[in-house]
């Protein structure tokens, strides 16, 4: 775990990840990377979270974001939703446990899950606007973003937000700029209870297993790890005390996956579409080749003249305006 590691003091830090580590790049392909980075993960243990929002503050600070001052509508969520300037958000849920009749205050730190199979990247039409590194980080490259909002439709977790200021998409980067120099994410660094920890995915799973065991020993039979299969696993995972029903945590999807509608849009519609359009064009060319153009005959012209010559509806044509045909 790198959470308690202090920043390196060496003057020039070697970048540990970069474009050479891309395994996916939106609307384009990347060469096979020559190395495989160790997969990383952020683990969020909701049972340890006290809702202090230090992670939110650290995120704003590190990423130099300036959220507008909002309004209090009587809930703790502040701001009320993720925004282009809020990459992570504590979501508070008051839930009555039907078994114990106890009120449970569920607090979930929402933000990008860094899916192994990212729906945003699949939906993105702009080459290189969304990239995935071999360590699992999914990042937006803003200079390539066109602001279409397709990533919003692709994401199973409702994470990306499009800025009205610069028309570009924003979300949690997993602090890729910190990871690149051997640091953990700012939120993990700031968390006073170590509810947020960061390390290799293997370490995080092992750590989660310990936490789950502890929770089970304290009566949370259904405690478990949220690392959903439907998106190939995620590089942000939760320890949930009620892992059998993720949706009680402010609508965390029970079985997230890339929507079949998005799959159809980005898959069969493309191939069928090009096939149909190509077919229409080819059919035209073949028809032209086989039958030649449909031309007016001398006979047609004479018939028209015969009909028109003495017709009551015909008007004389000014010879000065008559086209030569």
């Amino acid at each position: 775990m790198t959470i308690n590691v202090n920043p390196p003091v060496a003057p020039d830090v070697e970048m540990q990840m970069g474009p050479q580590d891309y395994i996916r790049r939106s609307a384009s392909s990347v060469p096979e990377p020559t190395r495989q980075l160790e997969p990383v993960a952020k683990l969020i243990d909701v049972s340890k979270c006290i809702g202090c929002k230090a992670c939110q503050s650290a995120c704003l600070e590190w990423n130099d974001l300036h959220e507008e001052v909002g309004f209090n509508t009587g809930v703790y969520d502040n701001p009320h939703d993720l925004t282009p300037d809020t990459f992570t958000l504590m979501r508070f849920t008051e839930w009555v446990n039907p078994e114990t009749e106890n009120l449970e205050w569920l607090i979930r730190k929402d933000g990008c899950m860094h899916c192994a199979d990212p729906g945003c990247l699949k939906a993105c039409p702009a080459p290189g606007a969304i990239v995935q590194y071999s360590n699992g980080v999914v990042d937006f490259i803003h200079e390539n973003c066109i602001g279409c909002g397709y990533c919003v439709k692709g994401c199973p977790f409702d994470i990306p937000r499009i800025s009205k200021v610069d028309n570009r998409a924003y979300k949690c980067t997993l602090c890729s700029d910190r990871i690149a120099v051997g640091q953990g994410p700012a939120c993990a660094k700031a968390c006073p209870t170590k509810a947020i920890v960061f390390g290799t995915k293997e370490e995080m799973k092992a750590h989660a297993a310990e936490r789950i065991e502890d929770l089970k020993s304290r009566g949370y039979d259904k405690a478990g790890l949220y690392d959903p299969e439907g998106v190939g696993g995620t590089h942000v995972m939760y320890v949930l005390h009620h892992a059998d029903k993720p949706s009680i945590y402010a609508n965390l999807p029970d079985n997230p996956r890339i929507s079949p509608v998005v799959e159809a849009w980005k898959g069969v519609t493309r191939y069928a579409g090009f096939a149909v359009m190509g077919l229409a064009a080819v059919a035209g060319m073949l028809h032209m080749a086989v039958s030649g153009r449909n031309r007016v005959t001398v006979e047609d012209d004479e018939q028209a003249r015969r009909l028109a010559e003495n017709a009551p509806g015909a008007e004389p044509l000014d010879p000065g305006k008559e086209p030569l045909s």
């Binding site: 994401c155 153009r293 045909s325």
Partner: protein, 252 residues
Amino acid sequence: MTDSTLRGHNAPAVSKDEIDSGDRLYVGREVVVDRYTRWARLNHWVTAICLILLALSGLALFHPSLFWLTALFGGGQWTRAIHPWIGVVLFFSFTGLFIRFFRLNLPRRDDAQWAAHIGDVLKGDEEKLPEVGKYNAGQKFVFWAMSVLIVILIATGLMIWQRYFAQYLTIPQARVAVLVHSMAAIAIICVWIIHVYAAFWVADTLRAMTRGNVSGGWAWRHHRKWLRALAAYGKRDDETPAAKRPAGKRQV
């Protein structure tokens, strides 16, 4: 003049309803038939340019292999920004075309007969077809397909207009809208291919949309009922006679 000289042998009865405003029949050394007014042509070409620009910018965002088309519009951000606005222009422009053209594109009984003879149509064997008014069933198909698809495209297009309307839809709704939008776009491109191909395949058709008129032979061959109606009645009832027509066409 007897009825048979007017209509030709075995000619079906014709009605004034076949004529659009601005349609005229002129006889000089050649027979010339006015088919589209200047405003109808302008309206058509504005719509056509919009449709082509929309297809190019839309395809650029539809498949990565065509993303380079965004260069025509000043890059990805510009393409994303301008595409919906062109769509709005097209919608209003097409509404104009719809109002102009819809009456004579209403389906008629003999359209089914025409469609049943599609083989003869493709062979160019038009003598085997029922006589056609201003539009044949194929043209009517293009007209109604365009109309329906444009309504679908503008509706779903507004739904996925990220800048102004994204907040009014849930994400699952927006996903459906974007899928429907892309499928309707493919369909309209196919209809457009049919439209352009037909206009090219049937020789001398393009002249109707450039100069506004066609030859008598063209009208006889492809739209005989329309030509007969013009021969019999000259113009629609609600039009003012010679006084309002362009000076060049008036003769004393």
